[in-house]
């Protein structure tokens, strides 16, 4: 079945389901008049100041501010936009529109979103990456963008794109919950380049150098780097996942997430993403994800597994698929059970993350957080990253993050 047909089927299925979903309650009136004094506009957001000291290389201070503007048009329509402001190594101010979208609360349990939004793939991307929420000042090696990925080549960036999304929540009688998210967006872009082996190795080294220089920047967002693997002199296709207002083909990327939660402790989810990235719309990037979140009042365990399949042409001109996969697992422990007052706001964090295939890497990170308020952590971490190709790296990172 061609992709366009698939998308049409997908949209048709979703549209057909809407009346059922609405269950006669489209744009239902609220069950009560909000007891809160009503506002129209609010500002929230987060930011951080980070000091990165790599073992080989110069230490540096970095900073960013990410304000979020929220507008409540009426009971059923809500608008939000988030812009990331930071300064690059040349002193230039960088801006990135992380999301700008409109929500329509179709029913009590169903929301339609249009615009640029964080794609519901896994948990780290849509929910956990903001620096005041991320328990480490670095990012697992499977993810790029949003600081601290260092020299590792990610499997995926934190995904954000332009299109439509549909969200549904079902609360079971026992209190557990089913979350369903689906989206259609412009999708990735890129091409397959044939480069001589020697030239490629040089390029890869340059790329790695750039990565080191780009610590803390978003310059890696959306790029899988052309690298060699056991395909001998073939290249891993370069795919750009950065959101654009244009599309290099008519095929739209689609995907979503299904998750089940036993609150307040457990949430597990499965995610999917597929999009054609070449001009002809014949080469796909497909990603699968599984995620876990376990929360108690004083410790947490979080993890994600991601596998990607990128289609490309081999030397013989035949279609081939380049597989990559990786994961991260993170545990954290609040010290509020020690009974020692000054340790009550302290938290220990340990994380292990790996990219297994094609430009693989692994990282362990240990961190200590001291929460000055519930939304202002002072974080100190040490991490070590080992690369399949390239020099290993050790870093000390100190960060004060703030959510406001």
């Amino acid at each position: 079945m061609k992709r366009r047909q698939k998308i049409m089927h997908f949209l048709a299925a979703s549209s057909a389901a809407i009346p059922l979903l609405a269950n006669g309650q489209i744009a239902a009136e609220r069950s009560l008049i909000s007891p809160l004094e009503q506002g129209r506009v609010a500002f929230a957001g987060y930011g951080d100041v980070t000091f990165v000291d790599p073992e080989d290389g110069n230490s540096a201070f970095q900073t960013k501010l990410v304000p979020i503007a929220l507008v409540q048009l009426n009971d059923n329509i809500h608008i939000e936009a988030e812009v990331e402001l930071s300064v690059d190594e040349d002193g230039e101010t960088e801006t990135e529109l992380e999301y700008a979208d409109i929500h329509y609360f179709l029913t009590d349990t169903t929301t339609i979103t249009a615009g640029k939004f964080l794609l519901p793939f896994g948990q780290f991307g849509p929910n956990l990456h903001p620096s005041w929420i991320n328990k480490l000042p670095s990012v697992p090696v499977i993810y790029g963008g949003h600081d601290g990925n260092g020299i590792a080549t990610p499997l995926l960036p934190v995904l954000s794109d332009i299109g439509l999304a549909f969200q549904k929540t079902h609360v079971f009688k026992n209190g557990s919950r089913l979350f369903f998210d689906a989206f259609v967006v412009n999708g990735p872009a890129g091409g397959h380049e044939e480069v001589e082996e020697d030239a490629h190795e040089e390029d890869a080294e340059d790329e790695l150098d750039d990565h080191e220089e780009d610590l803390g920047s978003d310059s890696l967002v959306g790029e899988n780097v052309a690298v060699e693997d056991d395909h001998d002199d073939e290249l891993f296709p370069e795919v750009d996942l950065e959101a654009t207002a244009g599309d290099n083909n008519d095929d739209k990327a689609f995907g979503g997430r299904v998750a089940y939660a036993w609150l307040p402790e457990i949430e597990v989810g499965l995610s999917y993403y597929q999009g054609a990235y070449d001009d002809n719309g014949s080469l796909d990037l497909t990603a699968y994800g599984a995620d876990l979140n376990y929360i108690s009042s004083y410790f947490s365990v979080r993890g994600e597994y991601i596998a990607t399949e990128t289609e490309g042409f081999n030397d013989g001109g035949e279609k081939d698929v380049y597989d990559r996969d990786g994961w991260y697992l993170q545990g954290s422990l609040f010290l509020n059970k020690t009974g020692i007052d000054f340790l009550a706001p302290a938290e220990l964090v340990v994380q292990w993350s790996e990219v297994n295939k094609i430009d693989g890497s692994e990282r362990w990170a240990l961190g200590v957080n001291y929460w000055l308020t519930p939304s202002v952590p002072l974080k100190v971490s040490v991490d070590e990253t080992k690369l399949d190709s390239g020099e290993d790296q050790r870093r000390v990172i100190v960060q004060i993050a703030y959510g406001f």
């Binding site: 299925a13 979703s14 239902a28 609220r30 009503q38 929220l70 009590d108 399949e309 597989d323 009550a344």
Partner: protein
């Protein structure tokens, strides 16, 4: 060899329809302030420390809550319950402010039991076996640290732990003390 693992809409189709059929909204039962407190903590803490209610004004919360409704996949009924909790935490409603004969607001004397209920304490704390688990057990804390600590902690939740997510409720010392006495009476019984 070309590997071709594609998501088939033979899976997506039934899934969407199944969800549609499962789509009856959340229970129509009305939710209380304590429910709102529990929902607030259970859902916020999935990703981050819950911010104390006083982090934003009531007007700000009214705009932020639709944002969080989408982020946390809250139902409308749950969102309403959280707003009920936030309103209780930010106003003197829990203390039953009433107008006197001159039209001025005065605090009406309210029992510890009423205050305990009106501010939704049980949404986050257990007393004996009932209640939420976001905060420490109140019966255990009372036995270990005593009445004066409890009163101080209610009036100043950041006491001894600046990362405490407990709201600073608009309570007087007399009201805080009556809550503690109520907890003590429940434990004793």
């Amino acid at each position: 060899m070309i590997k071709k693992k594609r998501f088939t809409f033979t899976v997506a189709y039934p899934l969407v329809v199944m969800l549609a059929l499962l789509s009856s909204s959340a229970s129509a039962e009305s939710l209380s302030v304590a429910d709102g407190a529990r929902i607030y903590n259970d859902n916020c803490s999935r990703c981050h420390n819950p911010k104390p209610a006083e982090h934003y004004t009531a007007r700000e919360w009214s705009v932020i809550m639709p944002h969080m409704r989408d982020r946390a996949h809250l139902t409308r009924q749950e969102t309403d319950a959280v707003e009920l909790f936030l309103a209780a935490a930010l106003t003197t409603a829990g203390g039953a402010t009433v107008a006197n004969q001159d039209g001025l607001s005065v605090r009406q004397a309210t029992s510890g039991e009423d205050l305990f209920s009106n501010y939704g304490c049980i949404g986050c704390h257990k007393v004996e076996e009932d209640g939420g688990n976001q905060g420490p057990r109140l019966d255990v804390t009372l036995n270990r640290k005593g009445t004066e600590f409890m009163v101080e902690k209610i009036l100043n939740p950041a006491l001894g732990n600046p990362s405490s997510t407990m709201p600073k409720f608009p309570l007087t010392e007399v009201e805080a003390r009556s809550i503690v006495e109520y907890i003590r009476s429940v434990v004793k019984s």
